[in-house]
């Protein structure tokens, strides 16, 4: 007898429908799985068998063939267990096969017959709705997550037995209430109100968040670069539901999702030893990298100069296109990567340039260091701010601002940008290219003069000019100005990140090297 039901494979972060077909024939007892299944899927034979027996069903002592279709798609992981088990039960008439028609089933089985937590439930739920199926069976831990998809009846069950009973007509259990203490709750979220001193870095943080600019923090070890970077997410505008679902889907696939919808923008801080595959995604099967996990949030690269050059080079496409394409065999996978990049670096190899007379780096050391840093990544950094150690007095003084206050100002600035950029592909000033800059940035006469002057002085490259324009536009937005005034351009010039060629013309002795 033949049973057929739907489940889903995760391909990158996208769901792909897979049909599980189970055929039972008289013959010597055997259980074969075909259809380009990997080791974890083939091992599921033993899990399915034990789970069925431990759920007080009988495992048919005949010839069982299971097929996972389409056959060309590689199936990876244990998420097919539940579907295979229900398929066997349906084919052996222990549950009604007809009932399965409107269901998709997803989950890993334990030998005892429990449905285990499996990553990617939200993606599967989206796939279920797209495939036109109306009901989805998931492990109970994933119920709330899968229920984020509208127009789908999610049935979260703890065991195979419970799943089978629902197919036999039992009432589905209520979805569990939001758990009272999700991971991390109780810990205060990082807030700008925790910051003492650091007035200029705070200003830069606000500008960066308001315009979606990538930000470089430069400062000696222990001055608070990481502390500041962590707080960027707290001042970014709240995520819309679509963004939140997208983020939750990605994190769910990566197995990082605690429970339900992720509402906080992600903050990812990979260690500098990370490979390029780890950063932008890759491997076999391809998995999302840190750049994708930071989608709609902040990617923080601490000790930027320590990262392998190849890893940083790999970030180029994701930064420019907002997505990364990974080609494996005949397939190309696309991972979304729209993040704000915050990087931190020491000002020089010893780290102490600008701190008293402690720095002992020579001209050649500095040049080599800058060269390590330079390149395509620095070209995408609109803002540079130096972070210094706060004084004793500042540490005991009241905070300068709070995330809530900053968020208000930033939301207003973003709204102005949204209106101005309504008919362009960019969503914020940080995403404006040279052409869009000419269209959208109006300079007052004074601002025009200042910019021309800086450009003529030779310390500003054409690309550097674009960076200054973008930032000046954001500062004007924060001040609710339609036109950019000279002060805005000057502030942007002060906060600009200089590429090594610009640095060289400001420092002739470096140019001669």
């Amino acid at each position: 007898m033949l049973a057929r039901l739907a489940t889903f494979a995760i391909d990158g972060v996208e769901p792909r429908q897979v049909w599980v077909e189970v055929d039972i024939r008289p013959g010597l007892p055997s259980f074969t799985i075909v259809g380009l299944a990997d080791t974890a899927v083939r091992e599921s034979r033993d899990r399915v068998r034990a789970a069925i027996l431990n759920s007080r069903f009988t495992f048919p002592q005949t010839r069982i063939t299971a097929n996972l279709a389409p056959a060309f798609l590689r199936k990876v992981g244990p998420g097919f267990d539940a579907a295979l088990a229900l398929g066997v039960l349906a084919a052996s008439d222990q549950v009604p096969a007809a009932a399965l028609r409107s269901y998709a089933v997803f989950g890993e089985l334990s030998l005892s017959g429990d449905l285990r937590d499996s990553p990617g439930a939200l993606a599967v739920a989206e796939g279920t709705r797209r495939a036109g199926l109306s009901r989805l069976i998931v492990p109970s831990q994933r119920g709330r997550e899968a229920a984020l998809v509208d127009g789908l009846e999610v049935i979260a069950v703890p065991t195979l037995r419970a799943a089978a009973e629902i197919l036999m007509g039992a009432a589905p259990p209520e979805l569990s209430a939001p758990s009272q203490s999700p991971a991390g709750a109780g810990l205060a979220e990082p807030d700008l109100a925790d910051v003492r001193g650091h007035r200029t870095p705070l200003l830069a943080l606000e500008i960066a968040a308001a315009g979606g600019h990538n930000l470089l923090l430069e400062g000696a070890p222990g001055t608070g670069k990481t502390m500041l970077a962590r707080r960027v997410v707290s001042i970014l505008p709240a995520m819309g539901r679509r963004e939140a679902v997208e983020v939750t889907r990605i994190h769910s696939v990566a197995g990082l999702c605690a429970d339900g919808l992720i509402t906080r923008r992600p903050f990812r801080a990979p260690h500098h030893t990370i490979s390029s595959a780890g950063l932008v995604g890759g491997g076999s099967p391809p998995r999302p990298g840190e750049a994708t996990l930071a989608h709609h949030g902040v990617l923080f690269l601490d000790e930027l100069s320590e990262f392998q050059r190849s890893s940083l080079e790999a970030l180029r496409q994701p930064l420019e296109d907002g997505r990364v394409t990974i080609v494996r065999g005949q397939r190309a996978l696309v991972f979304p990567t729209r993040f704000m990049l915050v990087a931190a670096t020491n000002p020089c190899p010893c780290g102490f340039a600008g701190v008293g007379d402690r720095c002992r780096c020579g001209e050649a050391d500095l040049r080599r260091y800058r060269r390590r840093l330079s390149g395509p990544l620095l070209d995408r950094m609109d803002l540079l701010v130096n972070v210094e150690r706060p004084t004793e007095l500042e540490l005991s003084s009241p905070p300068v601002t709070s995330s809530e206050a900053a968020r208000g100002r930033i939301a207003e600035a973003r709204e102005r940008q949204r209106v101005r950029l309504a008919r362009s592909p960019a969503r914020c000033n940080g995403e404006l290219d040279s052409r869009a800059l000419r269209r959208h940035v109006r300079l007052e006469a004074g601002a025009e003069r200042v910019l021309a002057r800086a450009y003529a002085a030779g310390t500003l490259s054409a690309r550097g000019r674009d960076r200054v324009l973008r930032v000046a536009r954001t500062i004007a937005d924060l001040e609710s100005r339609e036109q950019v005034v000279a002060e805005n351009v000057l502030t942007a010039l002060s906060l600009r990140q200089r590429s090594s060629s610009e640095e060289a013309s400001a420092w002739p002795q470096a140019a001669s090297g």
Binding site: G197, H198, R199, T200, L203, E218, G219, A220, P347, C348, F352, A353, G354, V355, D357, C359, C361, G362, E363, A364, L366, V385, N386, E388, R389, P390, T391, E394, V450, R453, A454, A457, E487, V489, L490, T491, L493, S494, L495, A506, W507, P508, Q509, A511, S512, G513
Partner: protein, 361 residues
């Protein structure tokens, strides 16, 4: 074109040949270079001495002349009436100078009281700024800026002179057509375009450590004045200063903070009576007499209000954003004013976000 005589070229060949032998005894390099050819061979020639002497006896200058020509160099030997008079003061002047950039141009550069600007290879940003400003100011008045093209102060002085299109001459440790250090290739090219580079070593000689103090004596002898901008206690620039004093040339030094190791050298020179050099005008006054030559005037706009206040704050040591904020300036305002000051050429942002006040001119 005047041709250097064979005997004088032989000396260059000998120095190049003995280059490796001279390195282990470089602490006595001044005495050794004062010896004549045969004495020098006896002193350091070792086993090869007799063979060297016979080769020197019937020295054929042909191949050396060819390589000079191939390298695009010219020569001036001390038998030439045009040979720089300044070098005659040395115990034993170099027999010949190898010139890149044109013999006549080189002689013109040396003719009128060049000023040597020398110093550390690992200077502070302050030293670099001052060296560049001295180079600019001195070159502006048409006086040749003389230095050794080394990383640091030397290069900054040349850069300053080149920035105003003024005359500059580099004295290199090794063959003058080859940039040394190699990282200064672009500077070397620009010096040859606008000025010249010279050396007492012929093409083909490998650069050895003894060549640096040897080169320094030429700088001191050619300059009417030697100005030390920054130099640690053991810096080679102090050897140049010692030569300048020994040859009776003017010696100047740029004062620095007493706590700065790079200023230990010049501060010590000042304590022993060197001229105090605050700007190019001080140096020009010392060489030509007060007010005879004018360094270029400060072309920067006058400052007032916020900008003047901020510049004073930076000059008094509040040289980072945080320090300025602490001194009571609002960061929003300070960022605007800092960029304006930078545009006007009053300050420069260095590594670590530290601002430095730039000297005038």
């Amino acid at each position: 074109m005047t041709i250097a005589c064979d005997r004088c070229l032989a000396r260059g060949w000998l120095l190049a040949t003995l280059a490796g032998h001279l390195d282990p005894v470089r602490s006595r390099i001044d005495e050794l270079l004062a010896l004549d050819d045969h004495e020098l061979i006896d002193a350091v020639g070792g086993k090869a001495a007799s063979k060297l002497k016979s080769t020197l006896g019937d020295f054929d200058a042909g191949p050396l002349r060819e390589s000079v020509e191939r390298a695009g160099l010219e020569t001036i030997c001390r038998c030439d009436p045009a040979f720089p008079g300044g070098l005659a003061a040395l115990p034993r002047p170099p027999s010949a100078l190898y010139v890149a950039g044109g013999r006549d141009r080189c002689l013109a550069l040396i003719r009128e009281d060049p000023v040597a600007i020398v110093g550390s290879r690992r200077p502070s940003p302050y030293g670099l700024d001052v060296a560049r400003s001295l180079g600019r100011g001195i070159a502006c008045s048409g006086v040749t800026v003389l230095s050794g093209m080394a990383t640091g102060i030397d290069a900054a002085a040349h850069e300053g002179a080149l920035a105003v299109g003024g005359p500059t001459l580099a004295v290199l440790p090794g063959p003058p057509q080859r940039p040394y250090p190699a990282s200064k290739r672009s500077l070397h090219g620009r010096i040859l375009e606008a000025g010249a580079a010279i050396s007492e070593l012929p093409p083909g000689a490998e650069v050895r450590r003894w060549m640096f103090p040897a080169r320094n004596r030429i700088i001191a002898a050619l300059g009417s004045m030697t100005v030390v901008v920054e130099a640690g206690r053991r810096s080679g620039a102090l050897l140049t200063a010692a030569w300048a004093r020994r040859l009776g040339r003017l010696l100047g030094a740029v004062p620095g903070r007493v706590t700065s190791p790079q200023s230990a050298g010049p501060n010590a020179l000042l304590a022993c009576g060197a001229e105090l050099i605050r700007d190019a005008q001080d140096a020009l006054d010392a060489v030509f007499g007060a007010g005879v030559r004018r360094a270029g005037a400060d072309s920067r706009a006058e400052l007032e209000g916020d900008e003047a206040e901020l510049l004073t704050a930076i000059a008094s040591g509040h040289d980072t954003m945080e320090a300025l904020t602490r001194a009571g300036l609002e960061p929003e305002r300070a960022l605007v004013t800092l960029a304006a000051l930078e545009l006007e050429g009053y300050i420069r942002r260095g590594p670590g976000g530290r601002f430095a006040v730039l000297p005038g001119v």
